[in-house]
């Protein structure tokens, strides 16, 4: 008899006295094996994937709502809810037919009117959706299973837009839910995907539960990322929110959870030593670290000052600060696009390669007219990635002889302050740190951070006519060769004008118990095909 049994016995006696014999329901071993306990990257604080575009919401929504198309691991859109599509020769009229037998979680069939409402809501919020909406003549249901999208001019990336995994995805919801204002949150979660959301068990900040949808009709093809047959092998997926990484690591070792989405680098060696735990790269598309300089005010309104910083920065310093000594977790990135993806390029990236030249950088900075004014550098301390990068940047700027006004704050404050266009001394800023999911940087469609259309661009408001010209070229490209050529020119133009400073490419691990099988690499945790033994 071990100590725990004794404690249980003692407490059992107490239980009888204090609760009149309340006892825990017995959980059969089989039931436990059919429940997958997962620790996600963040709290599921809301559950509207169009209204809230955080990745954790997208990841949960991908279980609950299906899409018309799904991007596979080759970055190709594959049919998902759609059975067939036709496009007219002039490329302006798309006609889609839905697969038969598709059902929502309330048992109602998925109809064209639901798709039309869902696409209307999505296209009001998504960057690609907005582009299609700008070209739209009409989006109508032809019959229960057929709908038509008529455009004023061709949009060659239509299927990619409908299947992309970047947030917000074009999830299909019942019409009554999809008719909600896209800037207001939905309150009913009736899905079309392989798992149902158990709203009654949802404790935001603590737990979210998803149950297998028995009437889901998976495709017959093998699953690949968001495409193919989404065969769910467990009855329940429980998301357990754990804000403390050390607790998550201990819980995984103790068998209290089955899968931890993103263990921090410091704890990975401990997990690797445990014979019951598997550790591997989770998302092969990783992340791109960055800091953005404000184009509106000195010193970074001058391209020479921006290039001086780029010339001096060592991506290795940044990456080691983020991932530590594990060389398999990072790569130098002399460009803006995700490594190992079809459009990756290093064209124009020479300034980021080779030995760093501090003297030349100082000279260039002096030529920009910098004369010691404070550089307001926003650094969120509650995000380990931005904190690590901020410390490296502060050191870099000091080495360059810049006067750093280091604003240590939290992510929420950075989020609102970076939107201020006022001068740095009056509530504005000169630079802030962030990072971009590699999935968002595979091409210009979801890549807001690469846009350089001044006032309309992302924070920092970069202006680069060359960059914008090549973004358009990519959208108009008719084949992969044309796309690659456009991206090469785009990369060069963006680096020449320093749209932002890439600090390197980094990956992270995922970890799971060895009694769990079927975990695959992907831009989001994929629950179909994952099973668990007792």
């Amino acid at each position: 008899m071990d100590r725990r049994t004794v404690l249980k016995g003692l407490a059992g006696a107490g239980s009888l006295a204090l609760t009149g014999g309340l006892s825990a329901p017995a959980i059969a071993q089989g039931a436990a094996a059919r429940t997958l306990r997962f620790v996600p990257q963040a709290n599921l604080a809301n559950f509207d994937p169009i209204w809230g575009t955080q990745y954790v919401v997208r990841n949960a929504a991908a279980m609950v709502w299906d899409t018309l198309y799904g991007i596979d691991s080759s970055f190709q859109p594959q049919r998902q809810m759609v059975e067939s599509e036709e496009v007219t020769d002039d490329g302006t009229t798309w006609t889609f037919k839905l697969r038969s037998g598709l059902k929502f979680h309330d048992g109602a069939p998925v109809l064209s009117k639901d798709v039309v409402a869902s696409l209307t809501r999505w296209s009001a919020r998504d960057p690609m959706g907005l582009m299609i909406k700008a070209l739209q003549q009409e989006l109508t249901a032809v019959d229960d299973r057929t709908f038509k999208w008529v455009l004023k001019q061709p949009f060659p990336k239509m299927l990619y837009a409908l299947g992309k995994n970047n947030s917000p995805c074009a999830f299909i919801m019942p019409e009554r839910i999809a008719q909600t204002d896209p800037f207001k949150q939905i309150s009913e979660y009736v899905g079309s995907g392989p798992l149902k959301f158990a709203k009654s068990e949802w404790v935001p900040g603590a737990k979210a539960v998803f149950e297998k949808f028995a009437d889901y009709s998976p495709r017959q093809e093998k699953s690949s990322w968001l495409a193919g047959g989404k065969q769910v092998m467990v009855d329940r997926v429980e998301w357990v929110i754990m804000p403390d990484p050390a607790t998550a690591a201990a819980a995984l070792q103790n068998g209290e959870i089955d899968w931890w989405e993103n263990p921090i680098a410091d704890l990975v060696p401990v997990l690797k030593k445990n014979k019951n735990i598997s550790v591997d790269i989770g998302d092969p598309l990783g992340n791109i670290g960055s800091f953005r300089m404000n184009f509106l005010y000195p010193p970074f309104n001058d391209v020479k000052a921006r290039r001086a910083v780029l010339m001096a920065l060592s991506q290795e310093d940044y990456m080691r600060a983020i991932v530590g000594d594990d060389n398999s977790l990072w790569k130098s990135l002399p460009g803006y696009f995700t490594p190992d993806t079809p459009l990756y390029t290093e064209v124009g990236g020479e300034i980021l390669k080779g030995k760093r030249d501090l003297d030349a950088a100082k000279k260039l900075l002096a030529e920009s007219g910098y004369s010691g004014q404070p550089v307001t550098c926003l650094v969120a301390q509650d995000q380990p990635i931005t904190k690590a990068m901020g410390d490296v940047t502060a050191d870099l700027l000091k080495k360059l002889g810049m006067n750093v006004d280091f604003v240590a704050t939290d992510w929420g404050t950075v989020g609102s302050r970076r939107a201020q266009k006022t001068p740095p001394g009056q509530g504005g800023w000169n630079m802030f740190h962030t990072w971009h999911a590699g999935a968002d940087c595979v091409n210009p469609a979801p890549y807001t951070a690469i846009r350089a259309n001044g006032d309309k661009a992302w924070f920092g408001w970069p202006t680069s006519a060359g960059t914008e010209k090549e973004v358009t070229s990519w959208f108009e490209a008719k084949n992969l060769d044309e796309e690659k050529a456009a991206i090469g020119r785009l990369n060069k133009a963006a680096i020449d004008d320093v749209v932002y400073a890439p600090t390197g490419f980094f990956l992270s691990y995922t970890a799971w118990r060895k009694n769990v099988s079927g975990v695959t690499k992907g831009p989001l945790p994929l629950f179909w095909g994952v099973s668990k033994s007792a």
Binding site: L7, A11, G12, G52, T53, Q185, A206, P243, D244, G412
Partner: protein, 313 residues
Amino acid sequence: MLSYILRRIVATLPVMAIVALFVFSLLYIAPGDPAVVIAGDQASPEDVERIRQSLGLDRPFLVQFGSWVWRILHGDLGTSIFTNLPVSAMIGQRLGPTLSLMIVTLLLTIVVAVPLGVVAAWKAGSLIDRVIMGFAVFGFSLPVFVVGYMLAYIFALELEWLPVQGYTPLTQGFWPWLENLILPAIALGCVYIALVARITRAAMLEVLQQDYIRTAKAKGLGQGGILFIHALKNAAVPIVTVIGIGIALLIGGAVVTESVFAIPGLGRLTIDAILRRDYPVIQGIVLLFSFVYVLVNLMIDVTYTLVDPRIRY
């Protein structure tokens, strides 16, 4: 007594009103914008502005404050900006774990700290006294999260006696409920035990010098009777005061403890709400905590009459 309690309850109203105004003003001027968090990194400034409008965050301060107070007066704490759930429901979901943690910690503290303080006073100046006070200083100095990690490592990972994390409601059985609370309660209780033990010792030392204690000894009363019946009762007022004040310590410590042991309580809800700038949730929780604190103070005052018959209201 009843009229005193009623007067005190009425007196809490202006206190709560000041707290409400203070909390609302503080959040209004604090940096950060929930609309930015909701919109995500890819959102345009126009999207963020539309979300601000839909949440009513673009309205003037007085309009926002007025509508919030109006709702509070109708018993409505509002709706979370992020989850779209009523704040009262969210607090209700989290109340059980936090209350359980605080009750177990409180019981543990009283059961451990008071006898330790009494023994230390009884054996004042001896090795036992020094050892107990040494432990008290140690417990007072160690941060909650350090104690938490140490306990989890030893008792959960190494010995496998208790779970690392989580919470099970009492309705699912006493042991499942208790086993999740033992380590967090010890971690959270360390500081509290140290504080109460030291105060108990000091109060007891003073009482043990009194003439009536000498008289009790002269009458031949046993040591236990003298310490726990005569001395402890007379030393109880400062001890009860510290236990009451310590509830504020517990609320603060619960934030860290709940994070370390992944307990879905009010502490974690508070932190999540602050980081996301979920104003209605922050306001609701702060109001609740303020009310609890005022209530605890009232209970302490009432308890004085039970332990010291000389005190009358």
